[in-house]
């Protein structure tokens, strides 16, 4: 198995921490931008400028999830550019980092 050019394998992982009820809207945005996939992880709690929170499924007002998607640089930038103002209003956190994927065609 000869190693293909590393740059070809490089993609961007976008991680967004956001309020659980917002997920539907971020998914809609992801579809609009042609992202092929994403995964959502649960959280337990955290702390930020707007105070502390603990997962709270009863009121639903303090449940956050981590939305993760891997794609190429252009899509990642376009996607996060659209989301930024919304996420700012919601006090969410958005991170990008470089990852290497095995089947680059998939992302």
């Amino acid at each position: 198995m000869s190693e293909p050019d590393l740059v070809d394998l490089e993609r961007i992982k976008v991680e967004i921490l956001l309020d659980a009820p917002l997920v539907r809207r971020v998914e809609a945005a992801a579809e609009r931008h042609g992202l092929t996939g994403w995964t959502v992880l649960p959280t337990l709690g955290g702390s930020g400028r707007s105070g502390r929170w603990q997962d709270d499924q009863v009121t639903g007002a303090a449940s956050k999830v981590l939305f993760i998607t891997v794609c190429n640089r252009e899509k990642a930038d376009a996607f996060t550019r659209e989301l930024s103002p919304v996420l700012e209003a919601y006090g969410s956190v958005l991170l990008k980092s470089k990852v290497e994927v095995v089947r680059p065609g998939k992302f």
Partner: protein
């Protein structure tokens, strides 16, 4: 008022106090979120069913329609004075005042449930249709709240296409109304085989849920940065005034003592399920720490311990 004291010493309330004390001394006692959510769903199914079964016995009456109308009207009107008080006395901005006001126009399922327990054990059970009134009162205040927020000149109300849908089809509304209809269809006979879970085990499971609510309420109180003394005071004055109005309206439209007291509890209570979730979506700039602290950490404990006995007492006087 020995009836009030007796209420305070019932296990249901004592478990709430135990939870609050445990959180106050920073014990690591915690109920898994999945269990708390499961208990919350169970309670809604159980009271929906019981209400429906009762209405299947009593049939539909004019009184019922009046109670529904009264509930809806209270739910639409209560946010208005609450909004003004929050701005003038509580010194909140438009957005936060509107978000909190929506909570007080809506209702708290557990306050209602605890109140029904007290009324039932005191021989004054409210009519079964009050469950439907509860369900009707859950959402209108959300719309009023959003209108108040908009009127304040704030363009950032995210009330987009999805919101109305998400509000009206909120899980708690669907489950309450659905269980009510199931109870109505199944009737007393159909309910009998499921009564061991939904009736006999009800008070015990309510104890466990209130243990969790005590933990949650006190933790919120401790961690809240936004709660001022003025706001805490309002969180006590609102239920007293709204609840009194509710009981009086109930008496005026001819409800029986238990139902009038229950209408008072509904008016007095502040939402902790449907509204916080809707506000988080529609008014993201509003501080959830603030509205949950007022609703869960001030008004809810007040109603559970003092409000309920007071509304019962008031209803026995005016009906």
């Amino acid at each position: 008022m020995p009836a009030g004291l007796e209420t305070l010493l019932s296990p249901v309330i004592l478990f709430f106090i135990l939870g609050a004390l445990a959180a106050a001394v920073r014990s690591d006692l915690a109920i898994p979120e999945a269990i708390a959510k499961g208990l919350s769903l169970y309670l809604m199914a159980a009271i929906g069913l019981k209400g429906g079964v009762e209405v299947s016995q009593s049939g539909f009456t004019a009184e019922m329609a009046l109670a529904a109308l009264a509930g809806l009207t209270l739910s639409f009107l209560i946010p208005l004075p609450v909004f003004l008080a929050l701005k003038r006395i509580g010194r909140l901005d438009n957005i936060n005042a509107a978000a909190v006001a929506a909570h007080y126009g809506s209702v708290s399922v557990v306050t209602f449930v605890a109140g029904v327990e007290v009324l039932g054990s005191g021989g004054l059970p409210p009519a079964g249709y009050m469950v439907a009134v509860l369900a009707l009162m859950e959402t209108p205040a959300i719309i009023v709240g959003l209108m108040l927020a908009r009127r304040g000149g704030n363009g950032q109300v995210h009330a987009g296409n999805g919101l109305l849908h998400e509000t009206l089809l909120n899980g708690s509304v669907v489950l309450l109304m659905g269980s009510f209809l199931i109870g109505l269809i199944a009737g007393k006979e159909g309910f009998a085989p499921i009564a061991p879970l939904f009736e006999d085990a009800f008070r015990g499971l309510l104890c466990l849920f209130l243990l969790d609510m005590g933990l949650v309420a006190m933790r919120r109180l401790r961690e809240s940065r936004a709660l001022t003394w003025r706001l805490a005071g309002l969180g006590i004055i609102f239920p007293v005034i709204n609840g009194t109005i509710g009981v009086l309206v109930g008496a005026l439209i001819g409800l029986d003592t238990g139902s009038a007291a229950a209408l008072g509890m509904l008016a007095a209570s502040a939402s902790y399920i449907a509204v916080p979730a809707a506000m988080r979506l529609a008014l993201p700039q509003a501080d959830p720490g603030l509205y949950l602290a007022m609703s869960l950490a001030v008004t809810f404990p007040f109603n559970i311990t003092i409000g309920i006995p007071y509304f019962v007492f008031l209803a026995t006087q005016v009906v």
